[in-house]
């Protein structure tokens, strides 16, 4: 009925009806700035399939992947691509050496299939249409890097920095853009370019450099870019290694819809004696589904809108007002109004009401119904909440206890367990944030005693002997996933979905294969140590007679089925089916007679007589 009345899962909302405000604040405006100087074409580095790739190709493929990810992950972002050190120019300011690439409309825009497709093909036509030439040469006052920054900044003028993150991503392999110049001109150009970069940063635009280097020549930050990015000390030393990682990340990024950090609700937790603290709730874990379906008219591919109407089943009259609901019970129709239903559900007036604490051992593995919700304290409305939360959090961790509370949501009230989670940090950053996880507990009506179904009345339920357990322990030690982390697998179905969508949208000929990471490691399992452990366990439990499949132990049902088929075959032999069919005499037979034929030929025996006859005729190819 109400699957998710509380909108706990509601933040996976369809894109078709997005919350405008949220969308505004969570988008990104990005300008990719690509150096197109001849040096980018002449320098190569080993590519993925061992073939050498020019730096230009590398930048292009990287941006292309990034666009393909972006269109799925956060399609409301807007992008633009600028080449600099080009022969031709194309930009609003009409300055030299900068070429703004666009498909259709100019300026910043949401990535489209067309943009990606045309961008993928840019390399072929690049030399002819755009051309590559050094923009900064002695004797000329042109400064193509400065121009590129200027054009990018102008593109990013759109929208306010408060509602969007603005970024420039600069791809270049020239670590000393003004190296060919000397004296005052060099100083001057360096200074103006730095100023330009600073201007952009002052406007809230972040500039990121993705330096391309190859094994023989390292990209030196000290010539120019350290100043431009304002890097010093450790940050500078770490920059190059981390930027290589970032470049790789950009290509390998997982296709997943990104969610910006957003709390979906604030709860007050009443502790006792009127002490109540404020908590923010976040959805850290929710199943991701492929985007929503939009229905289209198959003749025109135009979107359709769905209209729902309520029609009285008895009279066919159209019903306008919100109807009451009813349930047939004791030969009556018991009617409920919406108010009554919501009144029934209003069990508690407090949002979260602490009932007490229990040791963690009381929380069983089967006490779970849906994904947990993360709670973090906030002092926004109630000063002192954070302090109380931290104190309780510590006590619960130390005493290994969890809190039981009643979650008095107006639509889906429930008992919940609050378990304290300590912060876990690794070198990669925060793995588990500190806070409490709210786990929705089942009621007795929700728990099924399925184990008891196969209660053995003869009291001879087999139990593993100590030896068998030890063999299982040995096996377990062999097949150990030491560093297993819960979210190490990507969802193959979802990734395939995105891949198919991309192939269809970009009219690619073949659909990229998606690696299913969730399959067991066959190779690893075939290692002799593991195979031995498995065999020993098998021998201990099954003895010598382990056989695969059903062969040694045919189930009751299948034996029965076989017997019937055998009998039917005998009976069936008594009829001349060909002859009966030829002369249309099948209809003179009884249903059970017809079934002899069907059973003998392993055909379905269900349906009306006509269906049986037609099935026989089809089988005989008549």
């Amino acid at each position: 009925m109400e699957l998710d009345p509380d909108e706990i899962f509601g933040d996976d909302e369809d894109d078709s009806q997005p919350n405008l405000q949220e969308r505004e604040s969570s988008k990104e405006y990005v300008v990719y700035i690509v150096d197109a100087s001849p040096k980018m074409f002449s320098t190569t580095c080993p590519g993925e399939d061992q073939n050498d790739q020019t730096h230009f190709q590398m930048a292009i493929s990287c941006i292309s992947e990034s666009l393909k990810n972006r269109i799925i992950n956060s399609s409301y972002d807007e992008v633009a691509i600028c080449f600099f050190n080009t022969r031709e120019k194309k930009n609003l300011q009409d300055i030299n050496g900068v070429f703004e690439f666009s498909a259709g409309e100019d300026g910043l825009g949401r990535p489209t299939a067309r943009l990606i497709k045309e961008f993928d093909q840019i390399e072929e036509s690049f030399v002819k249409k755009i051309g590559s030439q050094y923009g900064i040469v002695p004797g000329s006052r042109e400064n193509s890097l400065y121009n590129a920054l200027w054009v990018a900044q102008a593109l990013l003028r759109k929208g306010s920095a408060k509602t969007a993150d603005k970024r420039m991503l600069l791809f270049t392999n020239e670590d000393d853009p003004f190296g060919t110049l000397k004296g005052v001109t060099k100083l001057d150009m360096t200074r103006t370019t730095l100023q330009r970069a600073k201007d952009a940063q002052d406007l809230g635009i972040s500039i990121e450099l993705l330096p391309l280097s190859n094994p023989d020549r390292h990209f030196s930050m000290s010539h120019f870019y350290a100043d431009m990015l304002g890097l010093e000390g450790d940050a500078l030393a770490d920059f190059i290694p981390s930027s290589i990682e970032r470049l790789q990340d950009m290509k390998d990024q997982l296709r997943k819809r990104m969610f910006k950090k957003r709390r979906y609700r604030t709860y007050s937790l009443s502790i006792a004696n009127g002490v109540s603290i404020q908590l923010s709730a976040y959805a850290l874990l929710r199943p991701t589904v492929p985007g929503s379906i939009t229905w289209l008219d198959s003749t025109s591919n135009l979107p359709l809108k769905t209209e729902r109407s309520l029609i009285c089943a008895d009279t066919g009259a159209l019903i306008q007002e919100a109807p009451k609901q009813f349930l047939p019970y004791r030969n009556q129709e018991i009617k409920f109004s919406r108010e009554e239903i919501s009144q029934i559900k209003r069990v508690s007036t407090t949002q979260l009401c602490l009932l007490g604490f229990k040791p963690l051992s009381c929380l069983k593995d089967y006490h779970n119904l849906k994904p947990s919700t993360f709670l973090f304290p906030t002092d926004e409305e109630m000063i002192g909440s954070t302090k109380i939360f931290i104190a309780l959090h510590r006590s619960m961790l130390r005493l290994r206890r969890f809190a039981v509370a009643y979650f008095g949501s107006s639509t889906h009230p429930q008992l919940v367990a609050l378990i304290a989670q300590d912060e876990i940090i690794s070198t990669r950053g925060q793995i588990e944030p500190p806070g409490m996880h709210m786990i929705y507990l089942p009621y007795c009506d929700d728990i099924r005693n399925t184990e008891e179904l196969h209660m053995d009345v003869t009291f001879t339920t087999p139990r593993a002997s100590n030896e068998e357990i030890q063999k299982a322990v040995a096996l377990m030690k062999r097949v150990d996933l030491r560093d297993f982390s819960v979210c190490q697998f990507s969802n193959p179905a979802l990734q395939k979905h995105y891949a198919v969508l991309q192939a269809l949208a970009l009219e690619e000929d073949e659909i990229p294969e998606i690696k299913d990471e969730t399959l067991p490691d066959e190779e690893g399992m075939a290692r002799p140590g593991i195979v031995n452990a498995v065999e020993e366990f098998k021998l201990a439990v099954y003895g010598e007679k382990y056989e695969e499949g059903e062969s040694n132990n045919i189930s009751e049902a299948s034996r029965k089925r076989k017997a019937i088929a055998g009998k039917a075959a005998q009976e069936s032999a008594n009829y001349d089916w060909e002859d009966l069919a030829e002369n249309g005499k099948l209809k003179d037979l009884t249903v059970s007679e017809l079934k002899f034929y069907l059973a003998a030929h392993r055909l379905p025996v269900t349906g009306k007589k006509e269906a049986l006859i037609s099935r026989i005729l089809t089988h005989m190819k008549k």
Partner: protein, 709 residues
Amino acid sequence: MARNKESLVLLLDVGPKMHGVLPQVEKVCAMLLEKKLIYNKFDEVGIVLFGTAETNNELTKEVGGYENVVVLEGIKVVDGDLVDVLDQIPRGTVPGDFLDAIVVGMDMLIKKFGPTNKGKKRLCLITNALSRLRDPYEGTKEDQVSTIAQQMTEQAIKLECVVVRGELSGDADKNVMDENDQLLELFTKKTWAKTLHVESPTSLLGALRTRSIAPVTIFRGDLEVSSGLKIKVWVYKKTSEERFPTLKKYSDKAPATDKFATREIKVDYEYRSIQDPEKVVPPEQRIKGYRYGPEVVPVSSDAWEAVKFKPEKSVKLLGFTDAKNILRQYYMKDVNIFIAEPGKKEAVTAVSALARAMKEMNKVAIVRCVWRQGQAGVAIGVLTPNVSVKENIPDSLYFNLLPFAEDVREFQFPSFKNLPATFQPTEEQQEAADNLVMMLDLAPPAKQENLKPDLTPNPVLERFYHFLNLKAKDPDATVPSLDEALKRIAEPDTELLSQNKSVIDEFQRCFELKENLKKKKSTRSFKEKPSGSDDEKEVIEDHNEGKTLMITDDITAVKVENSDEKPYSALTTNSAAIVEKIGDITPVQDFEAMLSRRDSPDWIAKGIKGLKSKILEFVEDSFAGNNYNKAIECLVALRKGCVLEQEPKQYNDFVQYLCRFCRGHDLNDFCELLGLKGMTLITKSEAVDSDVPDEEARSFLVTKDGKVE
């Protein structure tokens, strides 16, 4: 239709010591019947009371004995009258004998169905088992129980006993209690029986499984440990949320007199083109479209079918890992259970060995599951051991679904230890919290765990069924208030609170809570940084908030200015001070800073103007030329700035004015200095806007000099 038909006899102890809990007994039984009326209309139910003054059962007529047992309702298909009977069951006056009641109930089931009936037969006993049982005519009570149990096994009758104990039973004879408990225990060792002890009215309401759901396997097949070892398992649901019964939409259009009206409403969907709302598109003409950026890509279902991800049905083990690697909060869904295929001895042993080894080693198993052929995706989950404590129940494994990488949102939160000291509890406060967590105990050692999910009924469903039944009698009934026993689920136990009053008072005393009256517009806190980018900033922000909040207590005015105005500019002040005018100490730097400020174009004009007046000031106030150098420095900076900002006129006019000024004020030495330093006007080649040709610029000071001489 009635394939899973169940016949149930309720055996209710109504003896004097039971009177206190009979309201709950009535409720839980009524609920059971109400659910049967909706979900299992063909089930049959009988009601037997014991501990009554009267005696009324067939056995007593046939063979004698079996006193104080009354068959209130014979076994019959459930109907509304049965529910009404439970509104108020007669109270008894004598201690009841539950063994007699079991025999009477069993006799009823046997007489009604004989051995032929294949449906489920169940006895449900609710008693406190506090009164001494009558001694049998021959043999011991244990022998008697064994005989009954054997008979039950033969007749495939199951027995469920709910024993009311603890605070509910009052004072009791310990010996009698123990003897009775042992007898009931004996049943569970001999036949399909289970005993449940309940110690609170709330758990009594949750003790009976009020809805019987035919168990269905999700999967039957192999648990593939490796290619060489496959264990036959069946997978069932272990938890699944029970919801309201499906309500239909009600239509009052049909005349009230129409006896055959369904009163239902059909929901009809129509698809119309957005461009042309008049046009209705038939359902078969629709095609699915998925969003790809701003566009929608049409995909026919056939094409999709051909290329989509199609995993093979299988359950494969990926490996084992330490239990601590799987945090509890990662469980995504309701829970399944893996049971070895019944009857397969080796499979049962294999699952048992795995479960016990996992428990011993504190390990869990990671599995990849495709339950059905044609399932849309794969499920990755964790198997945890469920080692059975009952002899006749096999060991099994729980299955919990785990998230994929796509399902996890990596939001960053500040560390607690990095929060400012105002957020850190003192030792005293920590102790108060420790005491609270320790003392507000729902699972005290000597007693039964309170609010155990397995024994806690859903108050909303309880209330719904209660209301439903009330409405059946009176359509205008109002929603009943919550039963006392159910209130204990939603509200803290007053008894527990009063027991720990001192702890709670101490906790309240230690911590101070204050409502934030100056609650800012929450827009700022909503606008938090995207995941992974700058959590640093957030911490700072939190700090700021903390600080300003503290100030609130003392000087409200300061706080308003400080935090409400411009939270972000306040932040930037920390790194680089914002220059708004040119000072005496570092005029050049101030000027440069003003020029590079780009939040408004006015800063350039302001800067130039400011520096000009500063230069004039220097020159004017100079005593024996002591400020000249400063003035020249500033002038150089001004020149540079004017070239950069393409404001040559500003500089040229000023220098000319300055020279005139010097000459007028007998400061000719300054002009000479300008000549010596080679300060020229800004030329056309430096700034396009300049109207000074190169030659003139160079000659500017020369001519001036000439004039002076």
